[in-house]
């Protein structure tokens, strides 16, 4: 295991930054591909799961994404960051898969559903649970809005980068964020105040 990790570390340093690794992948270098795979797998799994809310699809989608990275590496033009390019592939795969399953915009997280259906009295939530409840509420957003929230707050992308990932104008990104915030306000219990940071 240690030897394997050492080997992986060596390969990682050998290919340096993402553009170098992707260039090598474009030339058919499997070692470079393995490096990119290890670099992005966990990030992509989380992102795809957050967008789709489906654990059973996330793994398959990420594998599809990596196959596309291998096949299309030569088409990468370098106008955006490699991570933006890869996340763009992941986003479109995730949305397409959701459409195929005809489950776009349907809440899939049972906990979040239960929370939304609880009577008002029971929805008075102590501040200590605020963060957890907000997370549950996030799962009820449409996939496109959830992706913008995730890419902004978890992955720290700028709005032009997000526009590039999701292939839409920057104003659409801002609008999706606006609607996500409004929806969260609607879904969160009435009268609750945001705790001080």
């Amino acid at each position: 295991m240690i030897a394997e990790e050492r080997e992986q570390g060596m390969a990682d340093s050998m290919f340096g930054d993402d553009p170098k690794a992707l260039q090598a992948v474009a030339e058919g270098d499997r070692e470079a591909f393995k490096v990119l795979y290890h670099r992005y797998y966990t990030k992509l799994i989380r992102f795809v799961f957050r967008v789709t809310q489906r654990t059973d699809l996330a793994e398959e989608i990420v594998n599809d994404v990596m196959v596309v990275v291998w096949e299309k590496a030569a088409t990468y033009k370098g106008t955006a960051k490699v991570s933006t390019w890869i996340f763009g592939i992941a986003y479109h795969k995730a949305i397409k898969t959701l459409q195929q399953w005809s489950r776009v915009n349907q809440p899939l997280d049972s906990d979040a559903l239960q929370l939304a259906m609880l009577p008002d009295m029971e929805r008075k939530i102590p501040d200590a649970q605020f963060s957890r409840d907000l997370q549950s509420t996030l799962t009820q957003l449409p996939a496109e809005q959830r992706a913008v929230v995730e890419l902004t707050f978890y992955y720290g992308y700028s709005y032009p980068e997000i526009a590039s990932i999701v292939s839409c104008p920057v104003n659409t990104v801002k609008t999706r964020m606006f609607h996500a915030r409004r929806k969260l306000r609607e879904l969160l219990p009435d009268g609750i105040e945001y705790p001080e940071p």
Partner: protein
């Protein structure tokens, strides 16, 4: 009217500032826009409240439990899919551009060689400076040793019509071969290993390889050629000017 215009302008400015607050919080807003946000926040209580809301949102997203979905055991599956996809792509590429069988194998070999060279070059460049000199020095010594200790062998050429008795125990025959259209390089390599043959030249632009294989003294040349022609991966075989290279 002027008052209404002012209000409309202030509202528009407020909306545009509030729309970029999430990226002010995540630290990706350009400096100029940051200054505009900060200036606006001095007087806008609504945006200050929105800041608090968004900071909580950010915290909630960042604190969300990481998805422990799967372990990293899918790499092999992905690599297998890639292999499959690559072979399909290779065939498609060949069908798209050049007719002959030739392109696939030629492309595969060039690709393989390019990959190997580029891989070893990267390994070499990843070595610390001192190690690089050592590797270069050792390589030079090996080349020098090879030159100094290689016995001068003058190849003997004879015609195929010559009797096997005239030859030594074992000869190599050279032949020109064209492989099947959809053959992969790894299949060629497998075939060569099994047939104890090697590529000595090619592929030519038209996809012709020159192979050298063992020709046992008790074998009839025609049998060797027929045996090669019977292989599924081979489309065409002919001896090279009836020349046999004696070992």
């Amino acid at each position: 009217m002027k008052h209404e215009d002012n209000i409309r302008q202030l509202k528009s400015e407020h909306d545009s500032i509030e729309a970029v607050l999430p990226w002010y919080i995540n630290g990706t807003l350009p400096l100029e826009e940051c200054h505009q946000v900060e200036k606006h926040m001095e007087t806008c209580l609504q945006c200050r409240a929105a800041m608090t809301e968004l900071q909580n949102m950010q915290r909630a997203v960042q604190q969300s439990t990481d998805v422990a979905l799967v372990e990293r055991n899918n790499l092999q599956d992905v690599l297998s899919r890639i292999d499959k996809a690559s072979s399909t792509a290779s065939v498609a590429r060949k069908q798209q551009y050049l007719s002959p069988q030739k392109l696939s194998s030629r492309w595969s070999i060039k690709q393989w060689l390019t990959n190997k060279v580029s891989h070893y070059w990267r390994v070499f460049m990843a070595l610390p400076g001192g190690w690089r000199y050592t590797v270069v020095a050792q390589s030079l010594l090996l080349v020098l040793a090879g030159v100094m200790f290689t016995p001068s062998t003058e190849p003997v050429f004879t015609t195929l019509s010559a009797s096997s008795a005239e030859n030594s125990k074992q000869d190599n025959i050279r032949m020109r071969v064209v492989f099947a259209e959809d053959v992969l390089f790894r299949d060629i390599r497998h075939l060569l290993v099994n047939a104890k043959a090697r590529i000595v030249d090619g592929p030519t632009p038209s996809g012709v390889y020159t192979l050298e294989t063992i020709y046992a003294p008790d074998e009839v040349l025609q049998d060797v050629l027929d045996r090669w022609r019977a292989k599924a991966l081979v489309r065409f075989v002919e001896p090279v000017s009836n020349i046999v290279v004696r070992n």
